[in-house]
Structures are given as structure tokens and as C-alpha cells.
Subunit: 232 residues, 2 copies
Amino acid sequence: MAQQDGRAARAPLSRERVLRAAVDLADEQGLEAVSMRRLAERLGVVPMALYKHVANKDQLLDGMVDLVVAGIAPAPEDAGWKDALRTRVLTAREAMLRHPWARRVLEAQPAPTPVLLAYTDATIAVLLRGGLSVDLVHHAMHALGSRAFGFTQELHQPGPGPAPAPSPAVAAQLAAAFPHVAAVATSRPHDPGSVVGAGCDDRFEFEFGLDLLLDGVERLHAAGWSSTADPR
Amino acid sequence: MAQQDGRAARAPLSRERVLRAAVDLADEQGLEAVSMRRLAERLGVVPMALYKHVANKDQLLDGMVDLVVAGIAPAPEDAGWKDALRTRVLTAREAMLRHPWARRVLEAQPAPTPVLLAYTDATIAVLLRGGLSVDLVHHAMHALGSRAFGFTQELHQPGPGPAPAPSPAVAAQLAAAFPHVAAVATSRPHDPGSVVGAGCDDRFEFEFGLDLLLDGVERLHAAGWSSTADPR
DNA sequence: TTGACGGGTGTACAGCGTACACCTAGCCTC
DNA sequence: GAGGCTAGGTGTACGCTGTACACCCGTCAA
């Protein structure tokens, strides 16, 4: 061994290693578990050592989502704008499902990092190459919003682990108090197993909303829509 | 005065008063400023006194958004489902613009409170009364997602106060690095004053996306759409 | 040999949420 | 009136957080 002193040799830290460890920690134990102290411990290092590689905790979080976003595959080159965008967004969605904490971090960021701007730039490029007007692309991107990053727009996503199913008594009480929610929540042909509040963020719902938007954009594009005169 | 001891009489605390003070504090100084200690200080009380009125900080935050959501006017009774939903959502949006912190709190909640369920129930009721199928309503609510609460889907909302405009040099550098973003961001017929990253969350964008979704739902409804056989 | 420097360490501080024990004023019952 | 219950405000204390600052040591260039 090159190094034979008391303690075992430890691979030197690097920004990359720090970020990867943070992503792993968040994946395994949730975002709340990511503290500088716990992260340092996991890396076998003292908390302050991390500050040689990231400026502060906010930059750590930024770096974590950069890592996730940078791993999203680019849109296919050989498809029309609609299909290309669609597949890219669905790819993004898979990344976000693998790292559920990324959504919250991204949404809390006050400004996009260069990595996120690059992602957005590539997405816009797909639409412009497809012949959509700059005007329409602008509004389409707004309409997509965070869906462009593969986010479901759901509120109240359940935390890690299965949601605690409410007892039948409680469920009946809820159904009585909120009859319309109950009626709609139990109509679930695509996923009959889940229950109220368990968050049915399945692929069907995501694609339903995405296609509603993409179809709408396509229609506007075909009609030569422009935001100044609105012939919707 | 009824009370003449050393210190001035102080109105007694109540859950209502605590929540209102917290909302005011968040409105004025942002969500980060809402700590149990600071809130207590503002109420002229010791931190632990708050715990006689809210169980813990999470419940305080829940109560804050409940207060905001409960203040949203119900949908008009005398309109078709589409107009009724549209106006209600736009009303909700105004409430959310007045309390920008509410979005983040709501999105971080793992489960909806009864107040939120009541809001959702009333929203669903509008669609069902309009004759939409339970099936379609289910998916429409998913597609709307947090937009049903008046949220813009924007990422990177600027914090309170005007966003710091990047210097011309930096702006040029950004435009060079992300040409497509630059092209689309500067095409802004509805709001020519803003700059890249300043967040153009204006009413136009919100309605654009909302109408894309509502129009799509309307079309599916007219076509007798059902999720089992998808004749889109 | 010297000196700079990149990177890990140790200590310390202010702020956070909140558990727990306490005190006090008002009210109810006898 | 006396005694006791209770709602609600207080004080202290603990463990956790992010991070400023001073330090120290190994490597490498001059």
C-alpha cells in the first residue's frame, strides 16, 4: 500500500465526489437528511472540509440538481418537433422520478444555473427548428412551465415509502365531507389500486396533460396563431 | 384602564391571531423570516407561547395557507363550467400573487388539509355540474394540477423586490451561450420591459396555458372522450 | 532550503424547533 | 371565602443547523 499510516487511505474529495454523495444521500434518505454534517460524515470527513469544494449549502443543492439535469438525454434529432419534445420531456420525467427531491430544490431556486439554461436552450431549439414562430414558442414554454423538466404538476406528492392508507372509517368520513373529490378520485381506470391522496402520478396523467398542451400548441401553429391577434 | 400593572395589557393570543401575524410576517419579509422566535417577538410573547395555539411549525404553515385558500371566492353559480372554472382559477391566482410564499408551502405539504380538500371539492363540483364525465374530470384535474390553485407553473420565480438586471456585458455573454433562450425571451410583445430571467409571470401567460388546457378538455368533452378508448 | 498553497481540521457562534417544568389568573364547586 | 382545576404565558435547556475563522500539514516550484 502506498500509504500505511494509522488510518486507511481515503480518496481525496472533489466537487464531483461531494455532489454525487449528496445525491445518493438524498435519494436514500430524503432531502431533509442532506445536512453538511451528515454529508461530511458519509464522506469520512469533517463538515468544514466540504466548504473547500462548494461555496455553501445552496450551491451544493444547485450542484445536485445540475447533476440530475445534465444526465437527461437530449431530444432525438430525427423526429418532428412534437415527438422530439415529447420524448425528451418523458425522459426528463424519468430522471425526476428517480430523484424526487430534485423538484423541490429546482422550484426553490431563485435563478436558473447555466446547466438549466442549457437544458432550456436545447428544448427551445427543438421547437424553433420545427418551424414554430418565436412568439408561439415563447408562450408554449410558459404553458409547459416546469412540465418541460418532467415535473408532474401534482400537489401533495406522497413522501418516500407507501402512503399510509386511511382507515375505512376515516375514508368514509372524508368521502362524506368531500363527495366530489371522492367520486372523482375513485374513478381510476388506469390505476385501480391506489386510494385517495396516495397521489396517482402515473405516466398516463402526465402524458394526458402534456398532450393536451402539445396538441393545443400544434393547433395554434397550424392556424398561424400570433399573440397580437388572437384567433383562438 | 382595567389593568394597571407594570406592562401594558396585551390582547390575548389565539390560533387566529397567531396565523394572521404569521401571514403578515411572510408577506412583509418572506417565508424565511417566519420563525417561531421572530413570530413570537412580533406578538410580544415568548416563543413557547405559540405552542399553546399551534402544534408545531408545520401546522403553523398549514394554517397559513389555509387562511389564504379559504379567502378565495367561490366560482360564480350562473356561468357555464368553463367560464366558472376559469374565473375561479384566476381569482385564486390573485390570492397567490398577494402571498407568493403560499405556493412553496403548499407544494411542500405531504397531504392536503381539509380546507384544501374543500377547495378541490368545490372545483370538481363545477365540472361535474357542467356535465363532464367523472372520468374526464379526473384527468382534467390532474392536467390542471397546481394551476387549479392559481399557481403559475414557472420555475425560478424572482424573490421579493425587483430582480437585479444583469449588466449588459453579462447579458451579452448569456445570449451568446444560450442563443435560443435569448431569442425567445426577448420576444415579449406583452411585456417589453422585462429581461431574461426576470420572470414574466403575467396574466397573459397564465391564461394562455390555462386556456390551452380548458380548450383541450372542452374538445374532449364534446367528442365524448373516455380514457379507455382514446380517440384523440 | 524555502515558501506558497491546496485542502483537511478544530473550535466557536448564532439561530433554529421544541421538550419539559413552572407559574399565574380566572373560574367552578363546595 | 377556600380549595382546586385549567388555560395560557414563561424560562431554561438540548440537540441540531450553517458557517466564520484560525490552524496545520503535505506537496510542489523556485
